[in-house]
């Protein structure tokens, strides 16, 4: 059996983390969640196959995290999908250098399609 693809979900709302984790778990991914944006920087150690990153995380700006990860050699290849209820999510994700975006609230199919685009 091949190793499950690992996805890190970072959102300051625990219910959203859990909801996304349930969907991805059912779809066969290995999911880790965090509600503390600051811990996302530690991904160097775990090196997930994809990060789903909220934009506003209680004092932590997802855009900064995205830029930081994309500027480091060790992490720049991890695909990042930014997720937000902001109307300009697409633009914000693009400007922060993210690979993709999902606007909240989203359809389950939409989440799985977007994730599937970056992890095979």
């Amino acid at each position: 059996m091949t190793k499950k693809k690992e996805i890190l979900v970072a959102d300051d709302d625990p219910a959203i983390c859990e909801g996304i984790a349930m969907i991805l778990d059912d779809a066969g991914y290995a999911v880790t969640t965090t509600t503390d944006g600051r811990t996302v920087k530690d991904v160097q150690r775990h090196h997930p196959d994809l990060i789903i990153l909220d934009i506003w995380m209680s004092g932590v700006d997802g855009r900064d995290i995205c830029k930081q990860l994309k500027s480091k050699k060790q992490t720049k290849n991890i695909p990042i999908i930014m997720i937000s209820a902001n109307k300009d999510t697409e633009k914000i994700a693009k400007n922060a250098g993210a690979d993709g975006f999902i606007a909240k609230p989203f359809e389950m199919k939409e989440l799985l399609t977007t994730v599937g685009r970056y992890v095979l």
């Binding site: 959203i16 996304i20 059912d26």
Partner: protein, 414 residues
């Protein structure tokens, strides 16, 4: 206050020196009686100085200001210097307005001081018999100078208050915008997790063979979509107010959009059959998502307001310049007297007691059509049904000018 005013008048006594003799008696009297004139004015000025709204410190400050105005009027009576005097009173007016705004005076309180002052001056001069010494020409010149200066003062104050009011409105609109943006974000957050749970549970139940529960959860998900749409409507209505509704325009196949929306809306109703009568494929220039929003609004209204009907007709037709799309239902209809009102905000098509809704849908839809340079019309008869049509201009392709416009707009939105 007097010291400040003198700053604007490099030679404080120049007015006095250049003053023709004919006004010197008036000048002297005004200087001597400045206090008395202020008191006379105060007796009439019930709004501010006669009332109890302000503390003594503030009252004294404004009394001093008024005395200073009388002195300044006296110093600028020479008609030859009317231009210089006018400029001086403009500056003074702006300064007084700034002070009054800072101290929280209403416009009435701020200008009445000046208006009553003018009356008090006339009263005092008449009392002392000084007006009788002037001939007709001089009387006119004196009256012109006093009138002009006081008017300049009042209009400057009124203007500053008006500007301040406009600024306040702008700030309020900005706060409202910011609030709506935050509120929308906050409302969408719980909807996001609810939708995720509903959908994942639906798919788990479907896999476990519990079709009935799965269907119920899909209904829950559909309700959450309605909630999301309502949140979106609230934000859009606010953005229409402030002119900030975003548009992302481009060329697209209009019938394709209609097909998509009809298919989507057909899923929301079991009772109605949505029948399409579409003209030949037409590419138009506009915001596909926003026009889709208009179609969704018209179709959901048609479904909602025809609880006993079973057919809804969607048709498109067009020529080289325009495309028209109509949505017809056989529902409760709208009485003629209400036709003009339905595109207004908070107006609801049906009986308010039995049909819910925010009353924003048609308001937003009609504004979207207007922004596209189009029009929206309604034809309806009570108990027979309604037909809503919108007409949009079709922009020709292969025109350099329009291609440039398209590029520009795309850049602007990036």
């Amino acid at each position: 206050m007097k010291r400040q005013m003198n700053k604007n008048n490099p030679r404080p006594d120049s007015g006095k020196k250049s003053l023709p003799n004919k006004f010197s008696a008036i000048h002297n009297l005004l200087i001597q009686e400045a206090n008395a004139i202020q008191q006379l004015a105060t007796q009439q000025h019930k709004h501010f100085l006669g009332g109890k709204r302000f503390r003594n410190e503030l009252l004294n400050k404004y009394k001093q200001n008024h005395i200073a105005i009388v002195v300044e009027l006296a110093n600028n009576l020479a008609v030859g210097d009317i231009k210089r005097g006018t400029n001086l009173f403009k500056v003074l007016g702006s300064k007084l307005a700034k002070e009054s705004l800072h101290d929280g005076l209403t416009l009435e309180e701020a200008v009445d001081g000046t208006i009553f002052l003018k009356q008090a001056i006339w009263q005092k001069l008449r009392e002392k018999g000084l007006l009788d010494t002037l001939d007709v020409e001089d009387f006119y010149q004196f009256s012109f100078a006093i009138g002009t200066y006081c008017d300049v003062l009042v209009s400057k104050i009124a203007f500053a208050y008006h500007e301040n009011y406009i600024q306040t409105l702008k700030k309020q609109a900005q706060h409202k915008d910011e609030f709506m943006s935050v509120a929308t974000h906050e409302l969408k957050t719980p909807v996001t997790s609810l939708k995720a749970f509903a959908q994942v549970m639906q798919s788990r139940l479907a896999r476990a063979g519990d079709e009935k529960s799965a269907l119920q959860l899909s209904k829950m998900d559909a309700q959450l979509n309605k909630l999301t749409a309502l949140i979106g409507d609230l934000l859009d209505a606010t953005k229409i107010d402030t002119g900030k509704l975003e548009f992302h325009q481009g060329y697209f196949d209009f019938n394709e959009l209609v097909n998509e929306i009809v298919e989507e809306m057909q899923l929301t109703t079991e009772r109605h059959r949505i029948i399409k009568k579409l003209s030949a494929t037409k590419t138009i220039y506009g915001d596909r998502t926003r026009l889709g929003q208009v179609m969704v609004n018209l179709l959901s209204n048609a479904i909602k307001y025809s609880p006993h009907g079973d057919t809804i007709l969607v048709s498109t037709m067009g020529d080289k310049k325009y495309i028209t799309c109509c949505v017809q239902d056989y529902g409760i209809g709208i009485a003629k007297e209400n036709h003009s009102k339905i595109f207004e905000r908070f107006q609801r098509v049906g009986n308010q007691d039995t049909f819910g809704g925010l009353g924003l849908g048609l308001f937003i839809a009609s504004r979207i059509i207007q922004r596209h340079g189009g029009t929206m019309q309604v034809e309806s008869e009570k108990n027979k049904g309604s037909t809503f049509c919108f007409t949009l201009p079709v922009m020709k392709r292969n025109l350099k000018q329009q291609k440039n416009t398209l590029v520009k707009e795309e850049i602007k939105h990036d």
